[in-house]
Amino acid sequence: MSSLKFAEGLASGFSGHETRRTWSSWRSASALGFALGLLAVGVNALLAAATNRLVATPHGGTFFMAGIFLLLCGWVLLGFVQRPERHRGADILGGLTVAMVTVIFVAGYLMVLTEAVPSFSLGLYESANAITTTALSGVNVEALSAGSQVFRAGLQWTGGLATLLLGVAIVPTLGAGRDLADRVGQSGMLPLAPSGGQAARNILFIYLPLSLALWLAFALTGMGVFDGLLLALSVVSTGGLAVPGDPFRSGVVQWIAIVGMSLSGVSLVVLWRLAQRKTQGLWRSMELRFYLLGTLGLALLLIYSADDFGLESVRHAAFIASSAISTTGFAAQPFGPWVPLVPVAILCATAIGGMAGSISGGFHLQPLVALVRLSRRELLRQLHPRMVLPLRLGGVPVDERTIERMVVLQFLFIATVITTSLAVALTGFSVVDALGMAVHATATGGPVRSSDGIPQDPASWGVLSRLVLIPAMVAGRMAIFPVLVTATSVGAVTQQKLHLAGRRVRKNLRRS
């Protein structure tokens, strides 16, 4: 069989006729995912190499060679894959999961080669932190070369972009959730995602200018071009990785970061409509109102807790609140005492995160709004069991399958948090710390704080504790379903193969 394929390949190569068969959907999607992962790391590596060359710091050569090699491999693989006419939805999600895992492994190895981290396991953790835009990094950023800093920041930015593509362009078009995607224009507004390709273009139309605007704003505050770039990439992607120095000493920088983080937590559909200057009807969105009121409420709680109503206190409160709700997770120190309600509120805010279709992590507000309405419907159904009451979100009636999926998402989110808490607690942490780490990892937020608000330093955590957080970060960043769909697909295929193998063995045994 393999010699026939080789011959086919040779024949098509010499004769010019295309005789190669298309690959199966899952094989093609996995290979494309792998190729995309290589390309993503390769691009970031070349950017890091260019930075090291400009600033004359070491490891420029390593980044350059790695970047070229990865880009070549990715490009060749992309050309080699014989794509089927259409990929199945589950296989697309599988491919994206493969892309994410590829980035984590390859980028982690590159971090070891460039001496950003001392071991491969820490490299995996740090690359996972970057690509999933979680702010639980334990690296001393002051000790990193300029290239390594750009490499990490670039991975964050790529992770943010991937989140948008997944949440706005890909998942909503795969069956359930289609009714909530912005695929049809209303009142003269262009839709954000009429198709996958158009969605990707529109997303870049917002994400790129937002990144550039933040970069310019930070640079103009006196931070400098390089530090401004790092901070802009960290804010726009809700990555929250620290930058050298202490840029938030400056009130102006903090205010710009607050605006940037708040925008990053807003749904891209809202930003798209703002970009088209179509603001009518926006305020009717319950999700947007919850988001703004939630941020305001959390900030007010922090101010009340500190018992300080000055402007500086307001700024610090707004910073911590927007950082928590957008799941950016900058490790800001508390500016006053914390009443017991504050850690609970911050943990909930991080777990819920921003609006659906935004760059932020967490469970998202839209499913929460849907679940609240579902609860109300369930209470009404207890009184009137035969009642038919469709659910509406943003005035749009929602399909029951979409509702079902949101309920399952809640269940899986909580299950992920609990499983991760258990795994972390088994490595020696207390229940509270394990729960905090699990919630922040799944919501891709940060930092983990003690009850008085002091952020914990992940560098003090053991390697095993950090490694068990990686699956939660990946699952959380990809909104749980893709990772679990891939895992169950692999499980189902493995089970089938084992079953077939078992049947063959039993058949052979009977014959003999």
Partner: protein
């Protein structure tokens, strides 16, 4: 004469008050019985006697002056929720009259709050207590102690089930009432064609089970009083004890073994027990929920044993501490076997991994149709099957996958109801944690307290562990919030949340238009 006049005069139509009246009469009988125990122990007869007579009078008036009215869904919720609330309030009277929770430095409102808390914790079979080092349980008389145990025994099978068992006039609505009080006792679990017979059989089984546990505890070394008292709270998976150190007071492996068996039995579906008894063979293992329940207890015990052993405890001590505490929390009983604050059984000192496992057990509890609380194993199994179906639908978007439990397909309407229930439960946990944190409770104490109260477990983590009192961990207003959560959890949310709908409709209908 007055009773005759009441009985023959035109009656007010109110299902809630009619059922409440009967329930109060039962509770009053319990109070009166306990008053004799108190006298026998050398205490004062007045508090329990006065409380009993007053409750009996109110109950009798309520019963005789009312008749069952409409029994629509809203009225059923009002009846169940209202009955439990009113019975719990009257149930606090003996504590108040006996000044059980009076102590220097606390005002009367706090004393009332504590009495209500203890009463609700009793009837809801939660087992959380405001007794502690500042006010030891052993300082109370036998009457109060036995009354406390009796409240859990009555609440275990269900006050409304008790009423339905003697009230044939309820007919079809009796099943609705039973299902509203304990959803596992619905039409699928009927033990007899008539709902009154079903309720009576449940009570008979419950009574026999209690007697067997009492006999076993007596044989294991407890005194008669303690054996009967603990049998009452084992059968109801309530967890109240006549000792401050709970079961740790006896430090006896034999007693703990009896209780473990009793708690596992109490946490299983009583319909299975009845069927086994009737068919004279064990049918439990054919039920997927029971198998899941045993698997959960076994797996949790094994994991905790391993963690404790890995943290330096000997194997024997690990097994004893782990199995007892896993079973007591997994069945929502809440007994403790810690002999002191530093002993093996004090799980707030355990490694984080073991505590997380206990926290998970706090959520899920036992089987439907049992006396235990929590979300219930069946809902967890259906939830997992539902999630699995959703993941499979990504791979096969056009396929139709029914949800199976064992070999039985679960109707989509039931899957939806269970999903809705779990969503509301999660929101109550988060909301309750918020409220308690606003009242000054730290995160873990608040969250575990809410989960424990909603699941009618008993102890919580951090400042409300097995050797602590809820006075240590929570302020008086926080304790009242937890008490409300206990009732919400015992009645599985809907009756307590929806009980005001029917009275509101009645009020709106009867108010003259202005």
């Amino acid at each position: 004469m007055t009773a005759y006049r009441l009985a023959s005069s035109p009656r007010w139509s109110s299902t809630t008050w009619h059922i409440t009246g009967i329930a109060l009469q039962f509770v009053a009988l319990g109070m009166l019985f306990c008053s004799f125990l108190e006298v026998n122990d050398g205490g004062s007869i007045v508090p329990l006697l006065a409380a009993g007579l007053f409750t009996l009078a109110v109950g009798t008036v309520a019963r005789l002056s009312t008749e069952t009215g409409k029994t629509g869904q809203a009225e059923i919720f009002a009846a169940v929720g209202g009955t439990w609330l009113i019975v719990s309030v009257f149930g606090a009277l003996p504590y108040l009259l006996a000044a059980t929770f009076a102590r220097p430095g606390i005002g009367f409102p706090v004393e009332v709050a504590d009495a209500l808390f203890e009463s609700i914790s009793g009837f809801s079979c939660t087992g959380s207590t405001v007794f502690g080092a500042h006010n030891p349980i052993e300082s109370q008389g036998a009457g109060i102690l036995f009354y406390r145990q009796l409240t859990q025994w009555m609440g275990g099978m269900g006050i409304v089930v008790l009423v339905v068992s003697i009230l044939p006039s309820l007919r079809a609505s009796g099943l609705g009432l039973m299902s509203a009080e304990a959803p596992g006792t619905g039409s699928a679990d009927r033990l007899a064609p008539r709902v009154t017979d079903t309720a009576q059989r449940f009570w008979k089984l419950y009574f026999v089970f209690t007697a067997v546990v009492a006999g076993a505890l007596l044989f294991a070394g407890m005194s008669v009083f303690d054996a009967v008292a603990h049998a009452l709270t084992t059968a109801s998976t309530g967890g109240f004890s006549t000792r401050d150190a709970s079961i740790g007071y006896w430090d006896s492996a034999n007693i703990e073994t009896v209780l473990i068996a009793g708690m596992i039995f109490g946490g299983a579906n009583f319909t299975l027990h009845w069927r086994s008894f009737n068919k004279k063979k064990i049918v439990h293992f054919s039920d997927p929920e029971f198998r899941g329940y045993l698997f959960m207890l076994t797996a949790a015990s094994a994991a905790v044993i391993w963690i404790l052993f890995a943290n330096g405890l000997t194997f024997g001590r690990s097994v004893r501490a782990a199995v007892f505490n896993v079973v007591t929390l997994g069945t929502s009983t809440g007994f403790g076997n810690a002999t002191s604050t530093m002993s093996d059984g004090n799980f707030v000192l355990w490694a984080g991994g073991a505590q997380v496992i206990l926290l998970i057990l706090l959520v899920f509890g036992g089987c439907t149709g049992s006396t235990s609380g929590g979300v219930k194993v069946l809902r967890l199994q259906v939830g997992l099957a539902h999630a699995r179906r959703s993941l499979r639908s990504f791979r096969h978007p056009r396929a139709v996958f029914p949800v199976f439990l064992g070999r039985r397909p679960i109707p989509d309407s039931l899957v939806e109801r269970i999903a809705g229930f779990m969503v509301i439960y999660a929101m109550l946990v988060v909301g309750g944690t918020f409220v308690l944190a606003a009242l000054g409770t730290d995160l873990l104490t608040a969250a575990s307290g809410v989960i424990s109260s909603l699941g009618n477990m008993g102890p919580a983590l951090q400042n409300a562990g097995p050797t602590a009192s809820f006075v240590d961990g929570y302020s008086a207003p926080a304790r009242l919030v937890l008490a409300f959560m206990m009732l919400v959890g015992r009645l599985e949310i809907f009756p307590m949340v929806l009980m005001m709908v029917a009275p509101y409709r009645t009020l709106r209908h009867r108010l003259p238009r202005l």
